[in-house]
Symmetry: C2
Subunit: 409 residues, 2 copies
């Protein structure tokens, strides 16, 4: 009889957001007069900018006319979008990324989840801790994470990022083959300066590892000396893949468009020890198991790169960052320590001494009807922290701040 | 040093369409005055119907307004589309498929390519031959196909479908765990009647296999007693997954929307021998590595199920099938034997005695500037056949027929 992929059975239920939803529902039932505001969700609220809307209307019309109708597009994405990306995201920083290095997709979650397929089944994986769960779960499904011990996977290398190391991961004792880095970071909102990222690139080059660099929050970088792309570090094009998304840059979470950069120069060891090109492998993967991102959506993404588009998406990003600054200050005024929130829409809050992240979640909810995300849900080193997000509207944020001020933290 | 997935290195280059393109380019260069018409491509040419266009315009507008903007949607797809599918595609046939069984995606190629992840690494795979290459390549990437011998994979079970067995695959000697069936078939255009499909369901139940049933061409079925869904066979909901797509039904090849049906009742053996639910596993896979199909596209797909939408997409399908009937007759008038083309937009042509499929391709191209697809490109049992497609416009088809009549077959 056909048997299942045994690794799926090892994965614990993903209870974080379900558990939050359950507790919020119970709170609402007990307090029908109180309006709950979520500072827990990593989803945007601003509508798409008019430039994108206009471009998508035009593309929809094209699909309705024989002369301009488009059938199957290239699995790698249309040249118009790949070239716009190079022109705006890489060329101005003097990075030698070309359109052939860019692969358009329907989302970074898909790209990040699928990319591990290209590596050997026994490749050793390192993740920062706390961590975006997709890196871990996709490797667990492929058998690379080992077994779940109740709090950790016994074959993953965890790179703790806490107040103690200023959220800069140390190099691990055991040598990894694949290193997931996400900067600006989800969930902590912290960043790596150019030197710290450079050290990781150097480390990967030395040990022969590949860095999978998730740069979904690049648009939120405000400070100088914080890299927008890993390729700002010389030599990174030989060891790093970069994941970028229009989800948080331009509100595409429900519209769906992202891209992966797999530089031509990136080679790893093939089965016979001779080098193989990751770009060719990813191209083969996508051509076999993907059929391109919707034409309409790609035209929408292209419009982000017009002058008007750039101006309007910056305004939206700035409005979220204005929320972030206010939330940070509001939390700090309570005497709590915060991290992140300067180059990212996430604020990572240290819970009061001795209070677990779920305890703080309960206190915040019961006293203020505000929802946060307990850090423990993102990995063992997330305990003692909660995540607040800045994606609400200005009105919601103001109301949340009033309530925060009344918290007996 | 990090090593690659060794299975990728085993996969031969996918030269079929590249080789066709090369030969066509050479023909054009040698004959600049002759206009090439392709009967080789499996892509649609009709624009999207006005009902879909209107629905997508409305959805685009919603995305531009705060009140109606949508962020992340459900990974499984919106209820409005899942319910419309049940109401129109399953309930009228008295099939007990529910909205929870339906998973919306951005394409059947993705679904068909990704679904094999749920099974054990050593599951034994059977494919009909000739075959849509994605079934084979996605399993080869996962190591289930074994090694490429130059003409075949040495660990796949091939189920030849030729004139000799009237294109109805026989049960194999070796017992498979996973059986890929595609009906109406790409590339042969042939179908299984209800009894023949029922026999395969019975076989799968007996040997404990799962049938992955690709039903992308369901809308092209014209004859009675040809199942539109595998669930028309009683008991199939316990052994079969069904893949459906809006690509060929409604011209969504560049718009991107499809769905998979994974019935609740479908269980396979888990690692400890106890049954596990494939629906729960696919849900987990999609929630981890997929983030939902674009809201705009899902609204477009929903519009196909309106009365007007149904009428208009039927007209388009009928126009392609009118092409198919003409092409079939045109080929038959040359004295060549044809299969398919009655319940599918593909006509599978037996090449003249002793002529290989590439030889016939060359003859057709040089004499008439028409392009077909050599059957050998779809697997060993495709040798001696070529595929013609009916997706051209009426004008192209008329011109193609004139030229065909002049062929010295």
């Amino acid at each position: 009889m056909v048997r299942s992929n045994e690794n799926y059975a090892k994965i614990p239920g993903n209870y974080l957001f379900a558990e939050i939803a359950r507790k919020v529902a119970a709170h609402k039932e007990a307090n029908p007069d109180k309006k709950v505001i979520s500072l827990g969700i990593g989803d945007v609220t601003h509508p798409l900018i008019p430039t994108v809307i206009a471009a998508m209307h035009k593309a929809v019309d094209e699909m309705g006319q024989s002369e301009s109708f488009r059938g199957y597009g290239p699995e790698q994405g249309y040249a118009f979008l790949r070239e716009a990306i190079v022109r705006h995201d890489y060329a101005p920083r003097n990075l030698s990324i070309t359109a052939e290095d860019i692969f358009i997709s329907d989302g970074s979650k898909c790209d990040v989840g699928n990319f591990q397929e290209l590596f050997a089944a026994d490749a050793k994986v390192a993740v920062t801790d706390p961590v975006y769960p997709v890196y871990v779960d996709s490797n667990a499904m492929a058998g690379r994470a080992g077994n779940w011990t109740g709090s950790k996977w016994d074959n993953l290398i965890y790179l703790p990022c806490t107040k103690d190391n200023a959220f800069v991961p140390d190099f691990p004792k055991e040598t990894p083959d694949i290193i997931y880095l996400c900067y600006p970071n989800n969930p902590t909102g912290t960043v790596l300066c150019k030197d710290a990222l450079g050290a990781w690139v150097e480390y990967a080059r030395k040990v022969g590892a590949v860095i999978l660099f998730d740069s979904a929050y690049e648009a939120y970088v405000t400070e100088e000396n914080i890299p927008h792309s890993i390729y700002e570090v010389p030599g990174a094009e030989e060891v790093a893949v970069e994941f970028r998304s229009f989800s948080k840059t331009a509100g595409f979470t429900g519209t769906r468009c992202a891209y992966v950069v797999v530089p031509k120069a990136l080679r790893i060891a093939g089965p016979d020890g001779n080098p193989v090109f990751l770009q060719a492998m990813w191209n083969r993967r996508q051509a076999t198991k993907f059929n391109g991102c919707s034409y309409i959506v790609q035209r929408g993404a292209e419009a982000i790169y017009t002058l008007e588009g750039q101006e309007l998406v910056s305004k939206v990003v700035n409005s979220y960052m204005a929320n972030a600054a206010k939330i940070r200050k509001g939390v700090q005024d309570l005497g709590l320590e915060t991290f992140g929130g300067v180059n990212a829409p996430y604020i990572w809050v240290r819970t009061p001494e001795g209070l677990g992240s779920w305890d703080f979640f309960e206190r915040l909810l019961s006293q203020t009807s505000l929802v946060c995300t307990p850090g423990a849900g993102f990995g063992p080193s997330g305990e003692g922290y909660v995540r607040l997000t800045a994606f609400g509207t200005a009105t919601q944020t103001e109301e949340a701040l009033k309530r925060l001020a009344a918290l007996d933290a």
